[in-house]
């Protein structure tokens, strides 16, 4: 079975190492990035089913990182996991394309559930796009 691939983006190393271990116990494959810049580098070389992103990070904050990531790949499924969960920030994050907004400390089972939902959405979007491309080809060829 192919494992769900997750990128965990947070500058709190002690937090990411433990959370990654717990996610791996639940069958996920986890990579870690300590900053928004590092996350952007990571997604260049690998396809992720979901990205779990902190809001308050050095240099490039979560919203900025979110914008850059989605500009790079609009299909990315980004879940914001943050300690600064205000309604305004949540609305802003969703407006910029985040699929979910969770508050720290988060329940691991809820987080894993949201990641699996994000993965399902990514698959759905991919299938939709393939379907659309096929329809386009069929229409052009007049089949």
């Amino acid at each position: 079975m192919i494992k769900t691939k997750v990128l965990l983006v947070d500058d709190e190393q002690d937090f990411t190492s433990v959370l990654a271990e717990r996610m791996e116990t639940r069958g996920l494959q986890v990579d870690i990035a300590g900053s928004g810049m590092e996350a952007m580098e990571r997604v260049k070389g690998r396809s992720y089913d979901a990205i779990v992103l902190d809001l308050a990070m050095p240099e490039m904050d979560g919203i900025e990182t979110l914008k850059h990531l989605l500009a790079q790949n609009p299909d990315l499924q980004v879940i914001l996991l943050t300690g600064r969960a205000t309604v305004e920030k949540g609305v802003e994050a969703v407006k910029h394309g985040a699929v979910e907004f969770l508050q720290k400390p988060a329940d691991i089972e809820t987080l894993v559930e949201k990641i699996r939902e994000a993965q399902a959405k990514k698959v759905f979007l991919f299938e939709k796009r393939v379907e659309k491309s096929i329809s386009e080809i069929v229409r052009k060829k007049g089949w």
Partner: protein, 229 residues
Amino acid sequence: MNIDKEGDRERLLRENGLAFFGAITASVSHELNNIISIIDQTGGLLDDLLAGARHGRPVENERLQRIAESIACQVKRGEGVIGHLNTFAHSVDHQVQEFEINQLVGNITELTRRFASLKRVHLETQPFDTPVTLQNNSFLVQQAVFLCIKQLLASAEREDTITVSVEDDRSGVRLLIKAEPSRLKTDDLDLHYLELLTGYIGGTIELRDGSGAVVFELMVPHWRDPDNP
């Protein structure tokens, strides 16, 4: 900004004081939330390991030892943050009170550290070699130091250094808040509020730019009349 009238000055002082208090407590609450999240996940990891042990996967003692150490480390980190916040909170107890300036500078610098970390800027202190006790408004002194650091941080870049040093002589205590290298556009600065603030503590503020560094020089008198603060 018109701050000529006494009433306007008082209002400005109150509003900015609250904003300062809010900025510090918001930052500290974020830090504490991070600590709680780490402890929460570490406790969860322990649960996972115990659940595994019930299904025949033994847990190594060394692993448990590392988890215990990690929790103890976060608890210590949390105690430090709470200690700094507590000292800060008590600085509003009296308009004028006795305090040791090296400790005060150390405390407000620690509370400001997260702002610097978010820009990957080094924040350092250089205390005076002996303790210096002042009688003044400690809250306003901290606010002045914080605002100087904040102004320098606004133009600082990754790996820059901001140093807060304490010097003492007969005329008072001199706090030097220095950013290296110098990136601050001094023409864009509005020093009106800092001047008002330092006026209330009986001090002065100056900004120097040159020799590769930009420096706020904040003079604070040793003594302020408690009956006429």
